[in-house]
């Protein structure tokens, strides 16, 4: 897959949809192209967060360690971004991400990612929107879980 194809895929990621393609090309160029075969780990829960990943092709599972063993909490479709929370919060990874099929991804380093956020407010706003959206989902889930008890 060439740089220009990657730019096309990045444009399909909601987070980057507002950014002009020249900048996306720069982002793609300065990121590492990484590939994983099924079962390989992108990062582990508890590791230090040093990069975010954009899944270009393939699927990955999000797994969380709990007292009753590892639980799969979600599945990442292509064109989704993962791992950005640990970068933003300077915290360690909150979950493990494992490739469910052969995965091609772009690995965006932490310092590059933060720099992008500074330079492109539209991206930052988009990011806040996505996070707020997730929070409201989580809250809804929590209410469901409480009321089901």
């Amino acid at each position: 897959m060439l740089l220009k194809d990657e730019v096309g895929m990045l444009q399909r990621v909601p987070l980057f949809s507002g950014i002009e393609s020249a900048k996306l090309k720069l982002l793609a160029f300065t990121s590492d192209r990484v590939s994983y075969s099924a079962g390989e780990i992108l990062f582990r829960q508890g590791d230090e967060g040093d990069a975010a990943y954009v899944i270009l092709s393939g699927k990955a599972d999000i797994l969380v360690d709990s007292d009753s063993g590892t639980i799969k909490v979600a599945e990442l479709p292509p064109n989704s971004i993962v791992g950005e929370i640990a970068i933003l919060c300077n915290s360690s990874r909150t979950a493990t991400v494992r490739a469910a099929s052969p995965v091609e991804a772009l690995r965006i380093r932490k310092d590059h990612f933060l720099r992008l956020m500074k330079e492109f407010p539209e991206m930052t706003i988009e990011m806040v929107r996505v996070l707020a959206d997730r929070l409201s989902h989580t809250t809804a889930d929590l209410i469901d879980a409480r009321s089901a008890k």
């Binding site: 897959m1 740089l3 220009k4 090309k25 720069l26 300065t30 590492d32 192209r33 990484v34 590939s35």
Partner: protein
Amino acid sequence: MEPSLARYIWTHTKKQQLWILVIVLLSMIPYFMSFDLPKLIVNGPIQGRGFEQPGATQPFMRLHYNLPFIGEIQFFPGFQLDRTTTLLALSLVFLLLVIINGLFKFYINTYKGRLGERMLRRIRFDLVDRVLRFPPRYFKRVKSAEVATMVKDEVEPLGGFIGDAFLQPVLLGGQAVTAMLFIVVQNFWLGMIAAVIVLIQIVLIPRMRRRLIVLGRKRQLTARALSGRVGEIVDGIGAVHVHDTSNYERADIAARLGLIFKIRFDLYQWKFMVKFLNNFLAQITPFLFYMVGGYLVIQGRLDVGQLVAVIGAYKDLPGPMKELIDWDQDRQDVQVKYQQVVEQFTVEGLIAPRIGALTIDDPGPMTNPLSAIGLSMADDGGAMLLDRISLQVKPGETVALVSTSTGGAEALAEAFARLNWPESGKVASGADDLLELPEAVTGRRMSYASSDVFLFQASLRDNLLYGLKHAPLTSVTYDGAAADQHRWNIHEARRSGNPDLDIHSDWIDYASVGATGPHDLFEAVRQVLDAVLLSRDILDLGLRSSADLTRHTELAGRIVELRAALRTRLEHEGLSGLVVPFKPGAYNKEATIGQNLLFGAAAGPELADRALAANPYFASVLRQAGLDRTLYEMGLEIAEQAIELFADLPPDHQFFQQLAFMSAEEIPAYQTLLQRLKNRPYETVSENDRAMIVTLSFAYIEPRHRFGLLGDELMNKIVAARNRFYEGLPPELQNAVERYDPAKYIAAATVMDNVLFGRLGSNHPDAPDRIRSIVYDILDELGLYAELLDVGLDFNVGAGGRRLTAGQRQKLDVARALLKRPDFLILNRPLSALDQRVQEKVLRNVLEEARRDGRSPAIVWVVTNPAMAMMFDRVVVFDSGRLVEDGTHETLLAGSGMFKELLS
């Protein structure tokens, strides 16, 4: 030190000075003869006196000189020669005298040059020797660069002067007096004229030069201060940048330079003023000679030969006079310099020479307890750090010193290490004052490490073994020229009062490490490095550096085995994709195009980096392979893409780290180049511009950069060009590149590259870490771990060890202290740069390592955290310079004192 320079010189060189004086006096005889000869030539054969009759002859070599005060002496009756042959003979004698005088001068100059250089060597050595014996407090007040300038520059003129110290006045005075006497003998009045002028010179010039000396002294002081400041800037460069004070420093340096300039220019002006006057006086005398002497000749009271001889003699008068005055100025100047240096180096409480005396034999263990008796320590400002402490550390005891921030435990550790001297009271070993023990005992049987580490700019190995180099233990045998050189070294060292210890001897005290020689030293080193957790760091350094194959032969010899082991291991673990190996007949997709073309490591500048594309042979290979145009077009494409991507970014943007093709500074140049070359046919582009563009393509890696520029056909062409390159490699490039050969070690590449013999796949972000741990495993399995550690020990730590991290430096310092296997190990917050967890781990390891093989040294450890005290036999607590608690960990924990308070 001897305050008077003249006496210092006389004490050390009187024999030589006397000898050279004798030679100088001897040289006066031919010197005087050469004055008389012109008169004989002019009056005799030239003017024809004594040859009035045709065929008349005169005796030749009837040596009858009319020496002043001695009268006429006849040495030899002579040969009878006619007018022409007499002229010839006398002229030849003149030539002979010129040669003899020249030879005398040559001998004298060489002799005194050597004399001066020997004395310079002696003075410099004396000064450094004193630095080695200065008391500790002195070093808190001096700048190292100033001391270095004094030793290096300020005593330098002394060397030039010393040869002349006694000789010059005698030689020049002798010459001047001889010339003067000669003139007086020829004609009294001409002699008087010369005498008056000389008198004026002698009186006036030195007076004018006094100012020069004052200025010279100022120049010396300001220059010394300048070098001190420059040294400070270099040492404190971090502080300068952190506080944005670089312009303050610029202003300070500019002000100093301005002052130096002013002084130097004053000096310059005044010097040439004096010179002008001096020359004028010297030139005015011949004017008087021609006038008065000519008049006397006309009157017939002086013959022409005499006048010529007088003028000839006078030519030799101003020279010596001027030099004599110069000498006097030098003398004053050098005396001032010497005094200033001596003042700086005269310090109260110098360490006695016997403390640091060379001791070859093992001084034996320190079996007495180490005690502080009523010990008080103060800092440089006089504030009390320790107040009358009494404490005893028994052999074999481990003691943790716990201290509040103003407790004073560090001062106690420094007193134990003799780094600071007691204000009152003392530190004793048994009944002896510790300060009275020779360093041969304290430096070998005690060791000390602190948070403030000093490393020398040398390899890790040298720094680690530094603590073992007490005395030359082997005598080296030299053969042939080296033996002569060695004899000369010893002879000269003795003549200059330097020690003749052989620096090439093996100074490492193997026995103290528990080894018998270089071959089993390594085991001890490895254990110590493991204990301080430094081995991993050194292995990493080893992997990243290129091994010296003269030293590490095994690594090269077993490289094939190593590479095969790595492949097998990777296959076994299903990680083959991690490394793409180099294969002679195949394109390596993870390597750059340049690497694929060259397929070797550049071993010289000819084919390295940017020079590759510009190399004419390489360019011709590309042309023949039909690649030149393709790569040029690829380069243009890359330039366009790179500029499109990066042109808008500020040059310090971190994204530039990702741009392998060009640096941020080069972007504007490539922008203009691109505009110029766009739509230009390839044929019309100059060689230089082509190379600039083609070089971009050399950095291209398809899977990483993903511009889609590299197809199968091109890859095949590149592999073909690679073979063509090596087939026709001209002899002058044979040594510029080491071809990748699966069976050969590449000396120019790092150990890691040699083992990998390939490139890491770019799409596995954790590949480097995984590969590194696999490589370590393999090296260990093949028994090459020690060899790699040894490669790592070659790493040069940089000035002050700055190429290592603070933590690595501290670990190295502790390792150095441990390696000695001391009886008393003093550790003064030695690991403060490490985090608590690592500190505790190292502490545990160090205690264990120090006691390995049944050894039981006393360990005094100033801990950074009271919790660390748990691992010691005894805990001593300090607060505000006083010892407040002393006991075992349990008792102090059970009490309710300061220790308990500190722990919570």
